[in-house]
Symmetry: D2
Subunit: 363 residues, 4 copies
């Protein structure tokens, strides 16, 4: 089978990482193009990924017609349009999370991919991290009993530029960052979040404040089966990229993530010192590789992507409810918004058989 010809739409920080991954770490795929309007960025991409076509816009890329699949790493506000155009061109897509800024956008994107019969996978990166995979396995094997509480944190070392933090571009902190904790929690707890309450503030960063976003937030969540969740997102975890999740069950607990990167410690009169992951690729490098490979494999094997679009859509719904809770100062029920598709919504759960396990227990 010939290699999948791939392009990366948007080569900002995460886009460049994806480009490198396609170029150097993925089997059965080749990086044939990227889009960027910056000659300087194009040069940087070529330096790190080898030679490939560079197009100033997605239009040009589609006109060239030499691509089987794309990674969409443009700003969130451009996702839906990107998905619709690529779908129309018959191109498979791995789209960075979140799929859209609202449910209507999600529905349009999903419909476009379904109509075109192309794959649409959303980048739920952490589900490919060995730590999270193992935690999921422990939970499924009953090692912690019935999950009752999930505690999660997503921390970035520095606030994003104000242009990015803008709610109309990125959707804000909850849709951009805490989104991870929402999909991870739903996946690990095998349950849906039905209510969220958010305390948040623009506590540190003027840029974030100026565009109406927040830089720190804590969310309390309730799951359909009664379990509880608490999620924290911060743009000021200066000590590193802080991605941790713990699930407490009635027989034990799992904790994912820790604060060590390089396998060395320095010990001196002041104590013991070691470093932490400084960026998402530091902590999630292998997960990014596995995610891209999983996408390439489902394109080559014509199988369903391991992350369903419904899973992505429901996670947007949770993020929007949590964002709304900030404005309204009250707990907000999660509205999935398509009552006629309740059956499908259930399949939004990454592991639908987990429900049975829960029903047998006392929760």
């Amino acid at each position: 089978m010939t290699d999948v010809r791939m392009a990366v739409i948007g080569v900002g920080r995460i886009g460049l990482t994806h480009a490198e991954t396609v170029a150097h770490r993925t089997h059965g795929a080749r990086l044939v193009a990227v889009t960027t309007s910056s000659a300087k960025r194009a040069a940087e991409v070529r330096r790190r990924c080898g030679d490939m076509a560079v197009y100033p816009t997605l239009d040009r890329l589609l006109e060239a017609g030499e691509v089987d699949a794309v990674v969409i790493a443009s700003s969130t506000s451009a996702h839906v349009e990107n998905v619709e155009r690529c779908a129309a061109a018959g191109i498979h897509m791995l789209c960075e999370k979140p799929l859209a800024l609202d449910l209507e956008g999600c529905d349009r994107a999903i419909a476009a991919a379904e109509a075109a019969g192309v794959k649409l996978m959303v980048g739920h990166m952490q589900r490919f991290d060995s730590g999270y995979v193992e935690a999921k396995r422990f939970i499924q094997a009953g090692a912690i009993g019935v999950p009752v509480i999930v505690r999660a944190i997503s921390g970035d070392m520095d606030p994003p530029p104000a242009s990015f933090a803008d709610l109309s571009v990125s959707g804000g902190l909850l849709l951009d960052s805490m989104y991870h904790d929402f999909y991870l929690s739903r996946w690990l707890m095998v349950d849906e979040i039905v209510r969220v309450y958010t305390e948040a503030g623009a506590l540190i960063d003027e840029g974030v404040r100026s565009v109406g976003d927040v830089d720190n937030a804590v969310v309390s969540a309730r799951f359909a089966g009664g379990a509880l969740g608490t999620m924290t997102a911060s743009r000021v975890t200066r000590y590193g990229c802080d991605l941790r999740t713990e699930v407490i069950g009635d027989e034990g607990a799992v904790q994912v993530g820790y604060f060590r990167q390089t396998p060395v410690r320095l010990l001196d009169r002041k104590g013991v010192h070691h470093d932490t992951p400084q960026s998402t690729p530091d902590r999630m490098g292998e997960a990014l590789v596995r995610e891209l490979q999983a996408f390439v494999d489902c394109v080559r094997d014509d199988t369903d992507p391991p992350v369903s679009t419904e899973d992505a859509r429901v996670t947007v719904a949770v993020s929007l409810a949590a964002t709304r809770s900030i404005r309204e100062g009250r707990p907000v029920d999660v509205e999935v918004g398509r009552p006629e598709t309740m059956a499908r919504r259930k399949s939004g759960l990454p592991c639908s058989d987990g429900g049975r396990q829960r029903r047998d227990k006392k929760v």
Copy 2:
């Protein structure tokens, strides 16, 4: 100076630990009596603490008249009456937290001690733990910048007996257990909690459910200065006594607590294994000793106790607000309830100069 003659009122689990501490670990104090109506328990106390008087009731103890100070470790619902009677007898008191089940009880207890001119200190144990003390020092020294988020958890390995969980006896999970996280958070953040929202449930334990309490809870908190908090309490952390707190500032973070007890690891084909603290004395043994010593010292030196009654009173107010949030399903403002004593309420803050530090910063 002669030793302080001490008694312990109530020798349940924590009371027995206090009795042993007075008997064996405290300088300048002697254990001269305990109260218990159980001959078996009396024998156990004597076996572990040496000989002393045993009285069936507090009345008898007071009649005997040989005591300078007491540790009140009876059920919470008896605290206020115990305090009032000991105060009337001119006896100094270290009272287990919480001081009372409501603010009116707190006010009665505080007034009784003030009227009698005796010391009344409330058992904010963790503030004497070297980990928390050091975290406080780091924060005061500016090592983490301005605190913006506090994340805390208090986990017990097993639910309490239903007789104890009863809201009319213990005040329930939030007043009994999460109370710790509230006073620690206020102390470490040097700020007051002004609003709380609770998600909670009786998810596991029938006994707890039968008396109307919950066994798991998560709280979102907002501080007066804008900072955020998330507190978790669970009665089912089977892996150990899980007391952890982390404070994230805009320049760094501190994390208190970890999951190792005995300094040994076993490594085999299944991996690496080590144990955790199994009980509060396991994790907080030294803190309990330092707490009692601090109380004895302030009795001997006639100084103010290191934990103010106002600090204890405000923590009860926060716990009650969080409990009320369960019933009302909405965020609840913390009501301290004595507007005429706003000045005093400020002094409820364990470290009042911290406010200045905060004001200089951008939060």
Copy 3:
């Protein structure tokens, strides 16, 4: 039963710690006297331990005749004479390790105690540490299979004063410090060390060098059953009091000791930071309490001390062989020097039934 009246002979660093332990932490014993010729030290002891008799010399203490048992914490070179005189006075003894500077001294001390019918226990402190106790339990339970290698390190933050390092006073680094690793290794491996080879040097400290001692040493050891050992002793582990031992078996391993003291971590832009134990009491505080209690208990219950004199004597023999290896530049066989007591030497092994377990296996 009345309390054991105890005295501490020599109140240097470790002697003062023992005095405090007797005064405050031991059940069934009272600190009634110490010996010191320094009025300043006497005042310090009284400040920390309460009131007691202070004698300038052991003679005076013995004349006073009010003591049932002593802790001998004088310089090693005085141990034998101290033991002989206390034994002659019918006093039980806990003697700091090593018992003597040579085997002849050990024999004299042991004979004196036996002739007088008093207890003589040698301070093998680490065997009372919960980490080592648990490691021993794991090994006995077969959790690591047959032990094949022991790796140990004993590190002090700073070199001792030259007056102490003097070989004629302390016996030098191997007898003073690596001694711990020798008795721990023999105890954990349930086997005798039969050959040692030492590389050592006065690499850092002029004072140590000037009196002919070394400040760093590594020893390779062979056990009777074929197992191997490597021990490291250093006077310059500036990062803390570094006491670690690991035993590797053919099915797993145990590791005792780690580098954390206060349960708090600071995280900032430079990484993660935490402290380490700074002194033996920091790391071994509880072990010192348990050791003293074990001694008091065997005095009160008239039972054999948990550390046999033969165990202490053999450990001196190993230390002397390792010291001799420095001078002779070759591996040295351990000579126990009493062939007629080979049977007894076997009982020098802390756990003689372990041999059977080993014989059943292939080592």
Copy 4:
């Protein structure tokens, strides 16, 4: 510049890993061939690395003439002949450690490469691990002061097959495994090992014993400048691939390696559990990639390999001295065997400027 056409000679465990690395992880190189006489192995290699030529022997590979560089991963006993033939064909070489079973072999291999003007780099893998690189940086920056002791361990989970352990094939445990600790120690200490003493035994494995090798060993080492070393090698570290090194200086210490692989912990009533690296690629995966990339880069850029042949040669000399110490039961001086090239031997030190730093200090 066109890609370097590479082949892997011998696709056993480490050879297959190298083949995968060339195929998927290396920039500027292509895997064009491997040698193996097993059709089954050839199929496995193709499954994991994609299509490439497979030759039954090195002769056939050289006849085909399409290769610029090779990785030599055959048995150690074949290294010298492989190097001579590849050199004669003008092919650059990355040869697995150790370069040869004796110094004469090293000299032949080095001479052959020099005569042919091709690169010869020896696989000192761990020097490319981020932990070791950072430790080296700390030491060079003076963070630990003057290094005085190095403690190292190399542990494999299971003994090798007897056919491999054979001294005439692999050189035995010290040349095959402890070799790593010798080159790492010399590199980190910036000093030469001048004397070694070994205690060793075939304690567990019959196969190893039957061919005259040992399965466990401890070595005491002395460095030219007086510093000390202790190295442990074991074939029975069932708990994982145990590669750790610590260097203690007179101002601090560095510790490389730790016992965690997957970033997840399971906590239950039995305690806390996590896994360890199970193999060299688990622990050293990224180092293997960087090592190969470094080799490809020096081929493409025509620069000197980052590991000198003299460094590799001296490490063989140390390993042989340690092996001889087993037979002779005495400390053995390291003989480099080419007195006329003492100047060059100095350059065997990976970082020659370190010597100056040491001379300024008191060691």
